[in-house]
């Protein structure tokens, strides 16, 4: 059952091949057996999931169940869940139980989807390898020496390992697309404002966006149908009708104009990854698409701009974690300043502290104009690059990450870790949607020189604002023509 896609599971439930209870039980048992090694979940909500499954089966028996009722899903631990710990991967929130559900959690539950639990992540979504989590790193099910990517690494690994058929992640600078690529699954970062941010613990508010992670583009479409839409509780969510994301999946790609940004195929791109991406593009050509080289001239400024804007917002967003009202508080503070200092020193990990300090610096008097203001100007240029490119092509394609998954502990300095997001970050700055789909297995170039022909890599497909349906269509057509999305790591095989 655990190798089936969400769509297949929905069909199976509808056909009565198995019950929701059986499905949930089987996944919970896999989590119990396998996740000790993988560490993809922070919290498993087994009892709640089983109760919900029983209820879903009863509804189905009465003919009252919606098409998605009783299907399992995993939630990145950044989504607030009523009555269940929401840690955001941080010691700071190790004891935090949100009194409300995030809007997307509410929507999933209204559609009848059942949460298996909360998945591991980089602390406060800051990281590209899942090594900054207070709960320890997640292992990549394709190679337990490798990272799953980040920050939605737990969600990606749980899906790839067959512990959940789908998961929600969030993407601030590539946190859905890069782990999806590293774990060989499909992940969509929607247009900024398409999915409500209410109840998502903020990292960088102007960049954060929630999205689906699953085996296939079709499954991502299924989930987008549930989570997309305007939310009056999020002022930045866009009041625009939600299309049926499955409706266009089968549209032919004849005449599709694909742009290849030359900046995405330069130095630093692993040759294995490049080959896999170019092979995928050949498939598109065979499906009737035409290829055009384009340029996004401000690409080299994306990472510097991001590492001004995101930490600036984060330094402000994370101020509320001060030990006063909720979350971690140090023992026996001597006075208020001591309470602040020690609670935050103990509660936050190094990467979070690093970004808070960067953000505090760039916003401070005398530096604001030189950094923050400048970065916002760069952001407009980057956005304009994309708008200009989409004048001539329908979608852009390139790698999701410069390499396949690297080894745990391999990226020693923060800046080389930041460069992991070189192809994903500009998309968040521009607010456009992007999807990553698996296109091959490559050599991960591990630190000890072992051969690792077997780490996944992803193709990233980008489109103009609100073009999710088109992106899903483009990814789905590839998945109809190929089988990379069907590959599962040995770790996920039933015998485990």
């Amino acid at each position: 059952m655990h190798e089936k896609t969400l769509t297949e599971l929905a069909d199976g439930l509808a056909a009565g091949e198995f019950s929701s209870r059986e499905l949930i039980e089987s996944l919970l048992s896999r989590i119990k057996r396998l996740d000790g090694e993988l560490n993809s979940f922070i919290t498993v909500t087994g009892d709640q999931a089983l109760a919900a499954a029983t209820e879903a089966d009863a509804l189905r028996a009465r003919g009252e169940a919606g098409p998605l009722a009783g299907l399992p899903i995993a939630l990145k631990d950044i989504f607030c869940t009523r009555g269940v710990r929401t840690s955001c991967g941080s010691r700071m929130l190790d004891n935090f139980i949100a009194p409300y559900d995030a809007t997307v959690v509410e929507k999933l539950s209204q559609a009848g989807l059942i949460s298996l639990g909360k998945t591991n992540m980089d602390e406060f979504a800051m990281g590209s390898s899942n090594e900054s989590s207070f709960y320890g790193p997640v292992k990549n099910p394709w190679d337990l020496n490798a990272v799953p990517g980040g920050s939605s690494g737990g969600s990606a690994a749980a899906v790839a390992a067959g512990l959940a058929p789908a998961a929600l992640g969030t993407d601030t600078g590539g946190s859905i697309r890069q782990p999806a690529a590293f774990c060989g699954i499909t992940g969509l970062k929607p247009t900024y404002g398409r999915v409500s941010r209410y109840g998502i613990i903020a990292y960088a508010s102007s960049l954060d966006q929630a999205g689906p992670m699953a085996y296939t583009a079709e499954d991502c479409a299924l989930l987008m149908n549930v989570i997309a839409g305007h939310d009056a509780r999020d002022s930045t969510s866009v009041p625009r009708p939600v299309p049926d994301y499955r409706a266009e999946l089968n549209a032919p790609l004849e005449g599709l104009k694909i742009g290849l940004p030359k900046e995405y195929f330069g130095d630093g791109l692993d040759s294995g990854v490049e080959n896999a991406v170019r092979e995928a593009i050949k498939v598109y050509e065979s499906l009737g698409a035409t290829i055009h080289e384009v340029s996004l001239p401000h690409t080299h400024l994306a990472i510097p701009a991001y590492y001004v804007i995101a930490p600036a917002e984060a330094s402000s967003n994370l101020s509320r974690f001060d030990g006063v009202r909720f979350g971690h508080r140090c023992e026996n503070p001597s006075d208020l300043i001591d309470l602040y200092k020690r609670s935050r020193a103990e509660g936050f990990g190094d990467e979070v502290k690093r970004r808070i300090l960067m953000g505090t610096h760039t916003l401070s008097e005398g530096f604001f104009d030189a950094y923050y203001k400048k970065a916002q100007q760069v952001r407009r240029l980057i956005r304009q690059d994309f708008l200009d490119a989409f004048e001539n092509v329908d979608v852009l394609m390139g790698p999701a990450a410069p390499t396949a998954a690297f080894d745990l502990g391999a990226q020693k300095d923060p800046v080389s870790m930041y460069l992991q997001d070189i192809y994903t970050i500009a998309i968040n700055l521009a607010g456009i949607p992007g999807i990553s789909a698996p296109v091959g297995l490559v050599d991960g170039r591990p630190t000890d020189g072992r051969p690792t022909d077997g780490r996944p890599t992803g193709l990233q497909i980008l489109g103009p604002h609100f073009s999710e349906a088109r992106l899903l269509n483009v990814a789905h057509q590839y998945q109809q023509a190929t089988t990379w999305h069907r590959q599962r790591p040995a770790f996920a095989k039933e015998t485990r």
Partner: protein, 487 residues
């Protein structure tokens, strides 16, 4: 040396919305701590602000009320600092693009002259919570501070003046004018005791004739008209003394202590926070459609300055009367109703400012609590105007209405038999009686020189009025007495 005082005010007005500026929690005053704070006000992780449209409308109304520019776009910024009663670690405010641009407020000085004070801008922001330092009981209570977040997220309009005021009196007049405007507009209850209005006062002094401003001190959170006056008076004196002794004023934040009647240093410029303002990424810029602004303009009530002008020009009141009556909306509304009922603006003004205000002040009541309604007072004045009662009886009637002895002037006039006697025969009868009862006084009167007689006649008038129990028409009594005594 002659010194000139320079004052600028930052007035914080709590807007009278039912719910908070970014959440649906109630803004009602006086609830149990933390019962009016929802997840948004508590700054729980994941929650987001949603702007209250009511607060926007009120801010725009204020802007229109002071003839300010209303920019098409305003932006909320975050002001970052740590404080236990600031739940999110930042206050959402407007730094770079406030909702109200430059405008002006007219104040009336003590000599009746008016002066225009420029408003630099007004911006919307959320209030913080409150730290409670009182002793908490129980084992854990020692030395603890409590946090009440009921106020957190309460909408405030911060109105920033230019440094245009030159005395404590002008500052108070300005504060009163702002108070009048916001209460006229109904956008704030203006209750200073409950913190609905408070201000920061910037004070500096400079030698008379010097153009450059002196170094200023900012006195934080002054919450009454009287304290503003006293805080400025103290501060001006302190600064002048300091300068005359060869010292220097340092730029700093000070606190006014009403008990000691002095200002004290809180922190100096060197310790000032770096607030790291930046646009709040959770809120979109506020775009105001012209139609919307014009609609609000059309619904504006008549404001104090216009009302004062109308009272003077159309009703013929003195500048002073017009100013006093227009200063508060309940007072103005009361006066206008009295005027409507009786039909005479001057009499209405005299009664409202004289008898009624005197009595209200004595009993420390506001106009809204007056036991005598505008209708009742208007009726009473009408009975004076149509000679049903004389002035003296009118005061009796007023007192009876105040005491609740009757529902209307007519009822009381009837019950107390205060109807003025204008029947010449009846008055003549009473006069004859008084004359025959007072032979000595009559003789003295008749022996006196004509220019002394005017004063002496008062005795006879008094006697006749007494005999009529105050109901005789005084003019008639005077006239007839003269005729009879002068013979």
């Amino acid at each position: 040396m002659q010194w000139e005082t320079v004052i600028g005010l930052e007035v914080h007005v709590q807007l009278a919305t039912r719910s908070k500026i970014f959440s649906g929690a109630s803004t009602a005053f006086g609830a149990e701590p933390n019962t009016q704070a929802c997840a948004v006000d508590l700054g729980l992780p994941g929650v987001l602000p949603v702007l209250n449209e009511g607060a926007v409308a009120m801010a725009v109304q204020f802007g229109l009320g002071i003839n300010a520019e209303i920019p098409e776009v305003s932006v909320f910024d975050r002001k970052n600092y740590f404080y236990p009663d600031l739940p999110k670690g930042y206050q959402t405010s407007q730094m770079y693009h406030p909702i109200v641009g430059p405008g002006e407020v007219e104040i009336t000085l003590e000599d009746g002259d008016t002066k225009r004070i420029r408003v630099h801008h007004a911006h919307l922001e959320e209030d913080a919570g409150k730290s409670l330092h009182e002793t908490f009981t129980g084992e854990m209570g020692q030395g603890m501070t409590g946090i009440d977040l009921n106020r957190a997220g309460t909408p405030l309009l911060e109105i920033v003046s230019e440094p245009d005021m030159r005395s404590a009196g002008e500052a108070v007049a300005y504060l009163r004018a702002i108070h009048a405007i916001v209460t006229y507009l109904g956008i704030s209850d203006g209750n200073m005791a409950e913190g609905s209005m408070r201000c920061d006062v910037n004070v500096s002094v400079r030698p008379q004739g010097q153009e450059a401003f002196g170094t200023r001190a900012e006195i934080k959170n002054v919450n009454s008209f009287r304290f503003v006056e006293r805080a400025i008076a103290f501060e001006v004196e302190r600064q002048i003394e300091l300068l005359e002794d060869g010292g220097k004023v340092v730029q700093e934040t000070r606190l006014y202590d009403p008990d000691a009647d002095e200002t004290r240093s809180m922190r100096t410029k060197e310790e000032a926070n770096d607030y790291r303002y930046f646009p709040c990424p959770d809120l979109l810029p506020v775009k105001l459609e012209r139609d919307y602004v014009e609609h609000l303009r059309a619904t504006l009530p008549e404001l104090p300055a216009e009302k004062r002008a109308r009272f003077q020009n159309e009703l013929g009141l003195s500048a002073y009367d017009a100013g006093v009556l227009a200063a508060s909306r309940p007072m103005a509304d009361y006066f206008e109703r009295v005027k409507e009922v009786c039909g005479d603006a001057k009499l209405a003004a005299n009664w409202v400012q004289g008898e009624l205000s005197g009595q209200l002040n004595r009993e420390n009541l506001s106009i809204d609590d007056s036991p005598v309604s505008a209708e009742q007072l208007g009726e009473l004045i009408r009975r004076v105007m149509d000679d049903t009662i004389n002035g003296k009886a009118a005061k009796q009637v007023f007192q009876a209405l105040w005491n609740g002895e009757g529902d209307s002037a007519d009822e009381i006039i009837e019950a107390k038999g205060l109807k003025q006697v204008t029947d010449t025969g009846a008055i003549e009868g009473m006069i004859d009686q008084v004359i025959s009862d007072s032979p000595k006084q009559v003789a003295q009167y008749r022996e006196a020189a004509p220019d002394k007689r005017g004063k002496m006649i008062g005795y006879f008038v008094g006697q006749v009025m007494k005999a009529s129990r105050g109901t005789a028409n005084p003019q008639q009594v005077n006239q007839l007495l003269k005729e009879k005594l002068d013979g």
